[in-house]
């Protein structure tokens, strides 16, 4: 299988395709259970409202990380190998919200081990409001016969 994207096809300033997703109660509960997060604010409406003081159950952070990972690798294809993700939580995402994930490439580089990297700023927003920010670093093949997943030890510098 050839890479979907190689480093020479990426430049700083590139925008990633926008992902829109309608969040439902199922999205929130499935996401919480898939990450083994049993805390009630992610499945119990009454608890979320009375104890957390929010309007409904809300997406948990590990599931948001999974959304960002999916978004990144939708763009890179399976040869893209995430090296680092930094999430900054600002506000909650609730059932009924339309989640909009966007991304912009901020830098492209090849490290001393020859690995190609794209630095990407991602944002998960509802309407005009940013809910979670994510700075990601993803390894992308430098040529059609390169595979970042084959890198180990000193050849992998995330």
């Amino acid at each position: 299988m050839k890479p979907q994207l190689t480093l020479d096809q990426i430049a700083a300033g590139d925008a990633l395709p926008v992902l829109r997703y309608p969040v439902s109660a199922t999205t929130v509960v499935l996401g919480a259970l898939a990450t083994r997060d049993w805390r009630p604010m992610h499945h119990d409406h009454e608890f979320a409202v009375t104890r957390n003081g929010v309007r409904d159950i809300f997406l948990n952070t590990p599931n948001q990380a999974a959304w960002f990972e999916r978004y990144l690798t939708d763009w890179t294809g399976p040869h893209g190998r995430p090296g680092r993700m930094r999430l900054r939580m600002k506000d909650s995402v609730f059932p009924g919200d339309e989640m909009v994930i966007t991304g912009t490439v901020t830098a492209v580089a090849v490290d001393q081990a020859g690995c190609g990297w794209a630095e990407v700023e991602l944002d998960l927003a509802v309407g005009q409001e940013s809910k979670t920010g994510c700075s990601a670093r993803v390894a992308v093949p430098v040529s059609p016969d390169d595979n970042p997943w084959a890198r180990r030890g000193e050849r992998w510098r995330p």
Partner: protein, 173 residues
């Protein structure tokens, strides 16, 4: 709240604590549930041929690293729920800060996790800030690293959590 950090908390900084082995091996059923939850169609998780060619066999999504350590909701003989990120809860209790949030977290990914792996983990408190006042209340920020390794001792990833423990009643007006 005293500005002085207790001596036992200072001593805890950079110490390796809560070394644990996962309750269960990494398994593909959970991988598929996790992929379904975010509609992740990456062939690495669904196509045996692609996984064999690109990653040398099936792997788990990298963001699932901490999933493999979240305790069962119940287990025989356990009187109290086991907590993930125990140092975070230890600090809340020791510093008498009943409320806490995780404001930010970073994960650095190394060796991918594979079905059948039984991971081990440990936690390290990296820093605790002086007392700060935020819109949430008065408290302290702390950073905790959680390291994950496979049975071969290879580093699979490190998560760094920045938490803020606080007293709501001392919130700024």
């Amino acid at each position: 709240m005293s500005d002085e950090l207790p001596e036992d908390v200072i001593t805890l900084i950079d110490q390796t604590v809560h070394e644990e082995t996962a309750d269960f091996p990494v398994e593909r059923g959970y991988v598929w549930t996790a992929c379904a939850s975010v509609e992740n169609g990456n062939p690495l998780y669904w196509d045996e041929t692609a996984a064999a060619e690109i990653t040398g066999g099936p792997i788990a999504p990298l963001s699932m690293l901490s999933t493999w350590f979240r305790p069962h909701h119940w287990a025989p003989g356990r009187d109290e729920p086991k907590l993930p990120l125990q140092v975070h809860f230890d600090l809340k209790k020791r510093l008498n800060l009943p409320e806490a949030i995780i404001a930010e977290f970073t994960t650095v990914f190394h060796e991918p996790v594979r079905p059948g792996d039984v991971l081990t983990t440990c936690q390290r408190l990296r820093s605790v800030s002086p007392v700060k006042r935020t819109k949430l209340g008065r408290g302290r920020f702390w950073t905790i690293d959680v390291e994950y390794r496979n049975v071969r001792g290879e580093l699979c990833g490190v998560e760094s959590y920045t938490g803020f423990g606080y007293n709501r009643e001392e919130a700024a007006a």
